[in-house]
């Protein structure tokens, strides 16, 4: 299964592309500025293609099988999205073209802002952030800018439940705030007593994921919002788990002031092996002026612009950029991951309101069904109706030597991608399972059967788990060696 490195198939004099001859007179190069050597590989096009196709075959992906990676919403990525994003009218546009020449792009971005506003209930949306964590940073900076704008400088603490994604506290630190951890209670909700004790005039806000990373809808979310607001803080929503509640409830109605969306989770845009994603951020009236920008606004056109002949009766609006009045600023160059926005727009157009609600209902149905099949087999720390995902423990009572990592690796032999493991941190040996709505009952049953069989094997033949995977392209890899003696490139 070993695929050589691209440098190992390199041979001097080969090339994977041919370029045109120069069609203008040459200008002398400034010699003292030139480099001596450029150690890039030299490969033919056919060798290059085979190399990358063979590498692709070593990957597990949504298009090759079930990928129940908790908190990542690995749903099917519709192919029509990819076709839409490849239209040359979109791809071949430069971000600095005059607005008159990019009305199509601006229209699409405006519409997507509107769709996300409607789904979430927020007053305004910015498409700037490039990923979920980027949207979080935006949200925390907005909360900070809001307090600062009121001359309220003593708020320096951000409350974060112990079940939160690591990005929440990391974003908080980047924004110059201190993190205060709030425990979860026995039902997996935010501990209200502990929250009350922390609510004072030094609190900037609270970052809440709801449904949370245990897959549970916080039973006191409105009370949490009230407590945070009463002490002058604001409520941030980590929208990673929006797939459970589209058309079920609007986050703004629950009391969230600002929230990011993950277009690459909820809205079916592929994750690309680690990105690109897109993390638009929505805000209510209070925080909307602080959104990162620019955002797209539209203006009614009284007279048809003389420069654009095709633009007649039907189109009465002119779209352009605007910086929100108290914006925290730009979060990246240009305007956000536009091609990802095209895919999310296409998805929402294909589904409509009823389709989105169906998505959330079936995501929650699939998770609860899978939970019903597994809850007698693996310890379930919070026995409640779950939302789109649930968390089990891999600590099997009669197999003390088996760990979650062993179960995860053994799942590969059954042809499945393992769930998220060892997260959330508050569940020892966590297995976090998110099936998504795009999987059939047959797939869920096959996965449950595999996990049940593995629980048996854990008792009868634990070595089979310890030495797993047996059928993957490589056997279990030595992560300690990789970290102790880092080899991070092949040239030195």
């Amino acid at each position: 299964m070993r695929e050589p490195l691209i440098y190992e198939i390199s041979s001097p004099g080969r090339a994977g592309v041919n370029l045109p001859e120069c069609d203008v007179p040459a200008t002398p190069l400034p010699k003292e500025y030139l480099r001596e050597d450029l150690p890039l590989p030299e490969v033919s096009e056919v060798d290059l293609v085979r190399h990358y196709v063979r590498l692709s075959q070593l990957n597990y992906a949504v298009d090759t099988g079930f990928y129940p990676l908790g908190s990542c919403t690995m749903k099917y990525n519709p192919k029509v999205n990819e076709e839409a994003a490849k239209l040359p009218g979109f791809v071949q546009t430069h971000p600095y073209q005059p607005p008159d020449t990019i009305q199509g792009n601006l229209f699409l971005m405006y519409q997507l802002q509107e769709f996300l506003k409607e789904i979430s209930g927020f007053a305004s949306v910015s498409l700037q952030p490039a990923a979920g964590a980027h949207g979080e940073l935006a949200g925390v900076l907005m909360i900070r800018a809001y307090h600062e704008s009121r001359g309220d400088h003593k708020r320096t603490r951000m409350l974060i439940p112990d079940s939160a994604h690591g990005t929440n506290p990391a974003s908080t630190t980047m924004a110059g705030y201190e993190t205060v951890k709030i425990s979860s209670d026995a039902r997996g909700n935010v501990d209200l007593e502990e929250l009350r004790a922390h609510c004072d005039d030094t609190v900037a806000g609270l970052m809440l994921t709801n449904p949370n990373t245990l897959g549970l809808f916080d039973e006191h979310v409105q009370e949490i919002a009230r407590l945070v607001h009463e002490c002058g803080g604001l409520l941030y929503g980590d929208g990673a788990n929006l797939n459970a509640i589209m058309g079920i409830v609007k986050p703004a109605a629950l009391g969230f002031d600002v929230m990011h969306f993950n277009l690459h989770k909820t809205f079916s845009t592929p994750h690309g092996g680690g990105g690109p994603g897109a993390g638009p951020v929505g805000a209510n009236e209070v925080l909307a002026p602080f959104l990162p920008g620019p955002i797209v606004v539209k203006e009614r056109v009284e007279e048809e612009p003389a420069s654009d002949e095709e633009w007649e009766e039907e189109e009465m609006y002119y779209y352009h950029w605007q910086m929100p009045p108290s914006s925290i600023g730009r979060l990246k160059a240009f305007y956000g991951n536009f091609a990802v926005c095209i895919k999310a727009y296409t998805y929402i157009r294909m589904l409509g309101a009823a389709g989105l609600r169906e998505v959330s209902e079936n995501a929650v149905l699939n998770a609860n069904y899978l939970l019903s099949r597994l809850k007698g087999v693996y310890p379930l720390p919070y026995n409640r109706t779950c939302m789109h995902e649930f968390v089990l423990s891999g600590r099997l009572p009669d197999a003390p030597d088996v760990h979650t990592i062993d179960i995860a690796k053994r799942l590969m032999d059954f042809g499945f991608h393992p769930p998220t493991i060892y997260f959330p941190l508050i569940v020892p040996e966590a297995l976090m399972i998110e099936p998504t709505e795009t999987e059939s009952k047959e797939t869920l049953d096959a996965f449950a059967d595999a996990l049940i069989q593995i629980a048996q094997e854990a008792k009868t033949n634990p070595e089979l788990l310890h030495s797993a995977p047996h059928l993957a392209p490589v056997a279990r890899l030595d992560e300690v060696l990789a970290a102790r003696q880092p080899v991070l490139q092949c040239l030195k």
Binding site: G104, M174, G176, E315, F338, M350, G352, R384
Partner: protein, 465 residues
């Protein structure tokens, strides 16, 4: 269509297994008064209708397949070999998540390891990460890293005015809660040497862009002097570089860079109206534990066979949480793959040739345009594929004329970012611009068609068309 395979019959069986009567039974924890709000979205469409709609929207744009374009300023139109799209279009790559389970993610992991190797080759640095969102955020992360290398003790950043204005804006956005002092942006963007005097014992890093935002190449010897000045005060030297230029010009390691970052969109990425792009990031070995983002390392499996894993993860947010130096999680992996395929396809000679084509064509355009009455080059410094052209009329007016009368997308208006550069256009020429396009631009701006100032009368539209 919602891509849901469950049938009504499936749902009935599943609800029964769960022990609830209907879907509503699954949402009891949601406050009842707020449950099932109406979503006012347009009615759904079929795939055929959706594609038709999207195509129509896209046709409201003037796309660059149909208009010669001289815009650059951080987003570049370079040739993308066919193999790039075919490789990143493999859904084994694009429908995978971050490679958390290495045994079944060797494709992504090895391709990132190769990408890291090629970024090191280009920049001359020791180590590279798996990517940032774009060139601007990569630079902001370089600032955070430099502060972190000083263990938070150094609070000042010397930032050249020659760095892309939006990158500088992003540095300000990222650091607004950190109480850093950022100096240097008020200086002349072409006088990088003045930065040396601003470096002191509180300086975490000195940042330059090469070629700078105005397209000019910095003299490697002068940059070496600046790097030495930074190092003598214990500050890091950060270079934001154009990766295509590195096919021809000195790698920043040669003139003393500690961190090299930049926009990798030019490496096999389309323009895509500004995103997704690719922030590449490389540094010296000694700082690797302070570098943000995913890093892939080589190791062996239990049979001793070579394999690749995400490594040095204890730096990152999912482990270090509030003590992590960055919150980055998802990056731009697929764009990094595109860059790797591009660099491998171009190879040692191809990338140099692309850079040479850009250089020669840009210089041809500069010579011809500056020969027109009323037009002159801002500086005689060497440049790469962009140059600043002093024009006889406001850039906006020129661009409007070029678009309306000639169907040409003109250059970038530098007056928007630099008050001293009113009526100065940043013109970008890459290997994609033919000689005919350049000649057409020159013809369009010739005084026969385009008078030098308004008072000489509006251009004769009929004649131009």
């Amino acid at each position: 269509m919602s891509y849901i395979p469950n049938t009504d019959a499936d749902r009935a069986v599943m609800l029964k297994a769960i022990g609830v009567k209907n879907m509503d039974g699954l949402f009891r924890d949601v406050p009842e008064a707020l449950r099932y709000p109406e979503l006012k979205l347009p009615p759904p469409v079929s795939e055929m209708e959706a594609l038709r709609e999207l195509r129509e929207i896209s046709e409201y744009n003037v796309d660059l397949e149909h208009a010669p374009c001289f815009l650059g300023a951080g987003a570049y139109r370079h040739f993308v070999p066919s193999v790039v799209g075919h490789v990143i279009g493999r859904s084994e790559f694009y429908t995978a998540y971050t490679p958390y389970q290495p045994e079944i993610s060797q494709g992504t992991l090895q391709s990132i390891f190769e990408y890291q190797s090629m970024i090191c080759a280009l920049t001359g640095m020791d180590v590279a990460n798996a990517s940032h969102y774009d060139g601007a955020t990569a630079l902001a992360e370089a600032v955070l890293m430099a502060v972190s290398v000083s263990r938070g003790k150094r609070r000042k950043v010397v930032l050249s005015a020659g760095v892309h204005p939006e990158y500088r804006a992003v540095v300000h956005t990222y650091t607004q809660g950190m109480a850093l002092t950022i100096v240097g942006e008020g200086a002349d963007p072409l006088a990088t040497e003045v930065l040396a005097d601003m470096i002191d014992a509180d300086t975490a890093c000195v940042i330059v862009q090469n070629p700078n935002f105005l397209g000019y190449l910095e003299d490697p010897a002068a940059l070496r002097t600046l790097a030495d000045a930074a190092h003598s005060k214990g500050a890091l030297f950060v270079v934001s570089a154009d990766p295509i230029s590195l096919g021809l010009f000195s790698p920043p390691a040669d003139y003393g860079a500690d961190i090299v970052c930049g926009e990798g969109q030019a490496l096999g990425g389309g323009l895509n109206f500004g995103g997704p792009y690719l922030g590449f990031f490389a540094c010296k070995q000694q700082y690797v534990h302070k570098m943000a983002g995913r890093i892939v390392g080589q190791t062996v499996d239990r049979h001793g066979q070579r394999g690749f894993v995400l490594t040095l993860s204890a730096r990152e947010q999912h482990i270090r949480r509030e003590k992590a130096t960055s919150n980055i999680c998802s990056n731009e992996a697929l764009m990094a793959l595109a860059a790797a395929v591009y660099l491998a396809a171009m190879g040692k000679t191809g990338l140099r040739k692309v850079a040479e084509l850009c250089y020669h064509k840009a210089h041809y355009a500069a010579q011809r345009l500056s020969a027109l009455p009323g037009y002159q080059l801002l500086s005689q410094k060497p440049f790469f594929k962009e140059f600043a052209l002093r024009c006889p009329r406001p850039v906006d007016e020129i661009n409007e004329y070029l678009l309306d009368e000639w169907g040409i997308i003109g250059g970038y208006d530098l007056g928007k970012d630099y008050p001293g550069l009113a009526n100065t256009m940043l013109i970008c020429v890459t290997e994609m611009n033919t000689k005919e396009e350049i000649d057409l631009l020159v013809e369009a701006l010739a005084p026969d068609y385009f008078p030098r100032a308004d008072e000489e009368g509006a251009p004769d539209m009929e004649e131009a068309a």
